[in-house]
Symmetry: C2
Subunit: 281 residues, 2 copies
Amino acid sequence: MSFLDRVAACNRHDLSRFRPFRVDGEQIGWVRPGLVAHMVGLPGVFEADGEGVRLAPGLRSFSERSAAMSEAIDALVAAGEIPPRRDEPYGVTTAWSRPALFAIDRCAAASFGVLAFGLHVNGYVARPDGLHLWIGTRAADRQVAPGKLDNIVAGGQPHGLTLQENLVKECAEEADIDRERALTARPAGALSYTLEVDRGLKRDVLFVYDLALPPDFVPRNTDGEIERFDLWPIEAVAARVRDTDDFKFNVGPVIIDFLIRHGLLTPDEPDYLEIVQGLRQ
Amino acid sequence: MSFLDRVAACNRHDLSRFRPFRVDGEQIGWVRPGLVAHMVGLPGVFEADGEGVRLAPGLRSFSERSAAMSEAIDALVAAGEIPPRRDEPYGVTTAWSRPALFAIDRCAAASFGVLAFGLHVNGYVARPDGLHLWIGTRAADRQVAPGKLDNIVAGGQPHGLTLQENLVKECAEEADIDRERALTARPAGALSYTLEVDRGLKRDVLFVYDLALPPDFVPRNTDGEIERFDLWPIEAVAARVRDTDDFKFNVGPVIIDFLIRHGLLTPDEPDYLEIVQGLRQ
């Protein structure tokens, strides 16, 4: 295994296995043909649109669209076509810089193949003996990636919160980091990937933050997502990312980006440019 | 003007105005149709290849190919089809991670539309009153971007040097930075862009370094490329990049990447994601 393998593992997909999902003439998602068939069976919400599906053009406003999508999601969850609700609203848009066209429950993001935004925080300690990174071990009872290694803080971006509000919220929930300290986290870029999964397509964009922590700070999880936190020397983190799949699939790339930005993964790595490019697809 | 405009300005091109240049069945460049016509008039070096042109398949080794290309470049320079020699050999490859198939003089890189590699150094001073960046003003007699603002050190990557050797060489020539100090520069990623110019297509990949400098260090140019150096507060650099085209076209993106990595350009910028993505095309 290699760093590039980790990046490639987030970008496996074949768009020929999906059909476009359009709103107002713009493509907003990618949907499996089986789900398209179920969607067009929900008249008033969806309509066939060439080889794909579109939101019924009569639904015009954010609230009309969101209400109709919510009913559709209930029907599709009941039919076992999409996974159960997670009660976290995601805004759906063609680009972060544009307003959301409607909101859906997070459970349906990959099924509809829409862009999903999130944030990851690298919590690091600059010790005299070198850079250390706080690594979480996800609880064994999690639906997503149980037992896998994780960043100190990471979370999806709910509709209606600013990034900074979400940063403060996730820092509190996941690591008991207070507001004042959370706001010292430094935005450092963004990663993106497109990953085909059974139920659909994960088109994720992750805003990345670096948070410098004092040597005496110890994170404490408050929402049950993380079972334990450990402070690792950065070399050990790098080796574990490179050589194993012990990290949650999208945490490896966040750490690889950290290594690159901090000059710890250098152009001596033969795949350097492919990795840099692969982190933003 | 905006930061995104600076990034977009490096990526203007229309590939329909170029024809493929292939070596051994692999596309290695993009050439204007007018130059293709001249190239196929040099038998033994080039051959027509569908709608494009290919290196004569009889030329097998690095040295055979480089010698033939050198003769061809002489003929094309003499015909006024490509600009004069710069006496700096560039390795030509389909990817940084693969060995060069041949070398050409730098003068012909854009005309043949091949990948060209280089390095840029952000020379910064972490002062108590904030981050400062050393900015060079290019000499008025330069062929390339006379009078424009520049990074403290930047240069093309010649064939036969490692990146690190080139970093040391360019630091010495452009800013009188000694070897020991140059080797403290921290690699921090890479940018890429594709820019159509009159003579062809610039497909550049820039390795980016951050070099922390002590407050009492003053750069001194030794090769005539830079007329003067000034230490600017980072906010002044950012505003000048955003609001003017006073910086050499590819220096703006290097500085924008620096601002992003150092948390000085944040997701509050509406075009944040488009900028992050646009820096690696």
